[in-house]
Each structure stands twice: as structure tokens, then as C-alpha cells.
Amino acid sequence: MMADSITLDVARYRPGQEAEPTLQSYDVPLRDDWVVLDGLNYVKDELDGTLSYRWSCRMGICGSCGMTVNGEPKLTCATFLTEYAPGPIRVEPLGNFPVLRDLVVDIDDFLDKLSRVKPWIVRDEAPVSEGEYLQTPEELEEFRQYSMCINCMLCYSACPVYGIDEEFVGPAAIALAQRYNLDSRDEGAADRLDVLIHPDGLWGCTFVGDCTRVCPKHVDPAGAIQRYKLTVAMDTLKSYLLPRGRR
């Protein structure tokens, strides 16, 4: 028979009162339909209202409940308690980010990088009367996988390059740049290139590949980065070898 409770060892950090996080244990009901986030909500509602963490949709879409569960970056809304039975389960904030309080991290750096790659369709828009921008299923398929990104930042948490050098633009931002570069309606690839070919851009990636392994939406940021490296390298080669008109 399954035990009826499981222990969560939760990282607590009270800024101004503590120099670094400490673990605090809570016993929560172990139900087979409960995820780690349900456990945290139980702690917040029933045991300790001072615990701080982010969450919203509970269904793997909003990307706010990313945390480190037993050392692995996870969406806590999609990580079942029973996977870790009999426990204990260590719940810590996402790695590689400054911790503001308990399980809440500072995401300003990611948001800044995200906006630098212009993750939207860039083009000189024609008036609506000229009709919509048509796209074939094949053209959609070129970038569809990358458009699944929910900005949960698990990939940044898994990326040792970002952990060592926070100037690195990082997996999700580059994958999203690719999402728009590969979109047949977009004309902004040249705008994004400056950010991406900077030493802190594409070439910072050493293809560890953990971003892809932890991605809950199967975006494959590592693949996106390597493919873009290949594109940039081929374009550079062509610019040396081909006459201007053929590029």
C-alpha cells in the first residue's frame, strides 16, 4: 500500500534575514493525482502561508511554475509526487537565476534577452486590403516546433554555459529567434543577426544539449542553435565564394 504522505524539502530564502537559502521540510498528502505544485499549494494553504512561489495555469502553458525538483529543472505542474515516492522531494528555485525569495527567481535578465532577439514578425506591412499573408503547411512546419516555447526558462536553468557566463543570450531566446527567422512571413532575420552572431550569441553555445533534454514542450533549443550556426557559416562561406548576384 502506498504511504499517505510525502516529505517536501523546500528551499527557503528570506532576503535581508538570511545570507543563503536553507531547506525546510513539510509533509504533504501523497495522492496519485497530485503534482509537486499541488504539494506546494497544500503547504501554502494549510501549513505555512509564508512560502513564496510562482504559478498560474496548472496545465503546462503559462511557464511560471518552473523549479528544480531533485536537482532537475521541471514544471512543477507536470511533475507528479508519486514519481518520487517514497521521497523526500527536494524543491529548489530554478538554477542559474538570482533568488528573490524562497522559490521565486529574478527573470529580468531573460526578459531583456528575449526582447533583444525581436521575437515577433518583422516586416513592412501591406494594407489589410491587399489580403493576408498566406502560408503553406510545409512553411508552417519549418518553425512550428520552435513556436511551442512557453518561456518557462527550464533551459536556462539546465544550461551550464549560462550558469558560468550570464551574458550568453541562451537557449530559449535563440530558439525563438529561429522561430521567426524560419517563418515565411518574416523579414527580420538581418535585424536579429547582430545579436545572434555576437560572441555571447550563437557561438557561446557548446552543444551540451541539456536545454533540449529538460524542455517540457519538446522545442529542441540545442538543435535550433546548431542549425542556425550552420546557416550562418554557410552564408559567410557563400559571401566569399559566390558572385554578388548568386548569394
Binding site: 538570482p98 551550464p160 550558469g163 551540451v208 529542441d220
Partner: protein
């Protein structure tokens, strides 16, 4: 009434900044495999040097060639070459495995499955190895 909101936003309590340990690559199997894969390039370079030394010995005649062979039979050199071979295999296998992620192959407009890309590399490897075997051993 106006309130100065900027000050209330600017006064942030100190955030805790985690530092990467020097030993981060031992914390996960995938990190360790990555570091070993990167390290393998040193051994690839070693085999290039070894091959160049071999070619030079052949070029300089029989005495030098015999010297090279006895040096290469030195237990220490054999040990280094065995370690280098292990890393070379790791290098080959890991990079073959990563290729489909970096190069999306297409055949007549349709994406080729990852397993096909990986398999074609092994076929190529086997073909080159067979050719080298034929070249060296004769048959």
C-alpha cells in the same frame, strides 16, 4: 494625489546569487558526458600528430621507420593510444548521435528520420574502414 512609485520599486532586498561550482560537470551524467566529449578532441589531435610522425618516419627510410615502430611498441605509448582510441570512439559515437539535431536532412522535400541520418554515418564509417583495411592488409 500623486505617489512616487519609483522608490518603492527600486528598494529591492538583496537577491541570493547562486555560484556555479568548479565541479559542476560532475553534478549530472549528461554534463560529464559533454565534458568527456569535448576532451576527446585532444585525443583526436594526438592521433593526427601520431600519424604525421609515422608518415615522417616512413619518408626518412627504413632505420627511422624501425625506430618509430619500437617507440610505438613502448608500453607507455601503447597505453596512451588505447586511451586515445577509447576517446576517439566516444567522439565518433557522440557526434554521430548529435548530427541529426544539427543538420535537418531532407530527401525530395521530406524530412529524413533521425535514425536514417545516424545509420548512414555508420555505413559510411564501415565503408571507409573497409577501404583502409584493404589498403593496409591487402586482403
Amino acid at each position: 494625489m500623486t505617489t512616487d512609485r519609483s522608490t518603492s520599486f527600486d528598494v529591492r532586498p538583496p537577491a541570493y546569487r547562486p555560484r556555479m561550482s568548479l565541479w559542476w560537470w560532475l553534478s549530472k551524467w549528461s554534463y560529464l558526458l559533454f565534458v568527456l566529449r569535448e576532451l576527446s578532441s585532444v585525443f583526436v589531435a594526438w592521433f593526427v600528430v601520431f600519424l604525421l610522425l609515422f608518415v615522417r618516419a616512413v619518408y626518412h627510410g627504413d632505420d627511422q621507420y624501425q625506430d618509430f615502430l619500437s617507440w610505438a611498441a613502448n608500453p607507455f605509448v601503447v597505453l596512451v593510444n588505447m586511451v586515445a582510441l577509447a576517446f576517439l570512439l566516444l567522439h565518433t559515437v557522440t557526434w554521430f548521435g548529435l548530427t541529426p539535431q544539427a543538420v535537418p536532412a531532407r530527401l525530395r522535400g521530406r524530412p529524413v528520420p533521425s535514425s536514417m541520418v545516424v545509420a548512414s554515418q555508420y555505413v559510411g564509417w564501415a565503408a571507409v574502414s573497409a577501404f583502409v583495411f584493404w589498403l593496409v592488409v591487402g586482403w
